[in-house]
Subunit: 330 residues, 2 copies
């Protein structure tokens, strides 16, 4: 069977069945942002992300510094989505001939920059030759006292998003249109703001997690990721389009480019923002975008019209396997 017939999430489902584990210390396995296992001193989280040239990034759009920064950022986002603190990072690189020592050092400068922000230690990995594409694979561990999974939400919970949505997808559109690298973000115009969000996302942890029932990071797009959370919690959701947090930069740039900022916020992907649910109203800077329902999954637009909420956004293998296409590289 072609992978394009079952798609990325169909494949993950199959593999999850195949690897059903009885390990007694395992708290969360395949199907969450990170895996978690117990030890007497707390819980260890572990997440892995792979980035492949021409699938996840294009070296004509990104500097090695920016690529290194993003590479660790996307892993951090997965640890934060479980309510954890990141700790140790291992890096495996498959390097083609055209990439030189200075490029790799620049990549590590970007990694070190965001590692320092989160006090993450880089502890090892693997370097090898790659015939065609540059490949990065990272594994980040974390520590957490109270794990927040995707599966804890219940009917009536409020759905929150921390930070704005759609900036990254808008930034990628600009990069593709102009087809060149951005070497400085100063002065930080609206255009550069959204581009920066794409090239160097800055994950922000949720400081107070008391009362939070479930959480996920938005990497494949709001609609896909809210669907994942609903699947794991066995619930539905209503999302209000007019409540989606859109940045001023996104609104301005989208207007000038003739793009729909709401569509970018719903399906764009690579936001690396946290979406979480709570039984009670929380004191938080996060924005309420909807509620958990028993079963039905709906989007309500600004005019009050309802439509079905389906998991549209970025999925690997499901695009006739032609590689990066549509809005996102991811």
């Amino acid at each position: 069977m072609q992978l394009s017939e079952i798609g990325e999430f169909g494949l993950i489902h199959k593999l999850r069945e195949k690897c059903r584990s009885s390990a007694k210390d395992l708290i969360a396995g395949i199907g969450d942002d990170a895996a978690a296992f117990k030890n007497p001193s707390g819980n260890t989280l572990i997440t892995s992300d792979m980035m492949i040239e021409h699938t996840h990034f294009d070296l004509s759009f990104t500097t090695f510094y920016q690529l290194g920064y993003k590479f660790l950022a996307v892993n951090i986002s997965d640890i934060l989505a479980m309510g954890g603190n990141p700790e140790y990072f291992t890096i495996s690189l498959g390097i083609p001939e055209r990439i030189n020592t200075e490029d790799i050092e620049e990549l590590y400068s970007g990694i070190n920059k965001i590692a320092a922000k989160f006090k993450i230690a880089i502890i090892g990995g693997d370097t090898c030759f790659s015939k065609n594409n540059f490949v990065l694979s990272g594994t980040l561990t974390g520590r957490v006292k109270n794990i927040i999974t995707r599966s804890g939400s219940k009917k009536g919970d409020v759905i929150y998003v921390k930070g704005t949505l759609g900036d990254s997808a808008m930034g990628l559109q600009l990069l593709k249109k102009h087809g060149k690298k951005v070497h400085t973000f100063s002065p930080l115009t609206h255009r550069l703001k959204v581009i920066k969000h794409h090239l160097m996302p800055d994950p922000v942890p949720l400081k107070y997690t008391k009362g939070v029932t479930s959480m996920i990071d938005i990497s494949d797009g709001l609609l896909i990721d809210v669907s994942h959370l609903c699947d794991e919690s066995r619930v539905g959701a209503v999302i209000y389009e007019n409540k989606l947090p859109l940045s001023k930069a996104l609104r301005e740039v989208a207007k000038r480019q003739g793009s729909d900022p709401v569509k970018l916020a719903l399906k764009g992907g690579e936001d690396y923002r946290l979406l979480f649910t709570s039984r009670h109203k929380l004191k938080t800077s996060a924005v309420k975008i909807g509620e958990i329902t028993e079963k039905e999954r709906l989007i309500i637009d600004s005019k009050g019209r309802k439509r079905a909420l389906t998991p549209e956004g970025y999925e690997h293998f499901n695009k006739g396997f032609k590689g990066p296409k549509g809005l996102g590289f991811k």
Copy 2:
């Protein structure tokens, strides 16, 4: 600077300097088989290995089942080399269009086979599209009470190897010569024994590590890996060629192929055997192949002639960057 000018180990040295960490819980970082960090209940080990098509393997020589088995085996070998027990495995795959669902399921069957032997749980990972080559990246964690690093050996220590050397390299030579897959290893002839060692290496742990001063797994070849151990311990070594453990299968096949089994044992690589040192003579089935010296690094051949021990074997990037060449794919 071209990576071929500094080589894989030159690059690792540079990156190690760049990532010098002050993390207080870190016991071993870049430059050992696995990284190690303390927690109150013991020590956690973590190792990552990447395997890229045409660099590490060729799908015309290996089945997906064998590839999956080897993929986890090489990671297990790194955990065993620190004296640890493997626990959790995360898998990231970059999958090109020509590979289908059944292939990936077969890969997972091979992974599950060896995972069951070592009671390892597969807990997550990442799957994505890869434009050209099939890429596998795995991270394995382990637990260990007394960590054995590469840096503890002292002058006068005895050097041991557990298991035979050179089989894997001989097996690869046969595979390259005949250029086709092996689907069954029964009956297990000499030829199939060495081929099996290449395709499905079986790492064996050292049961009693009392008195062991340092350890490394032989993956790049005996001469390179003994040099690594000497570098980390700041010592030298003498290796006796006539003491190298050679299997009957290797001797027989090498004779028929006109290959030198000693050369394969010294430089072949991908043995995934443990090399360790001890201050005292140990009761062990491992074979004594030499001693640690203060500084000098020598090989003594069967006629008692001495020559310099230099780190010859497989190194990424250092072959004019033309990809797999010489004896090993690794």
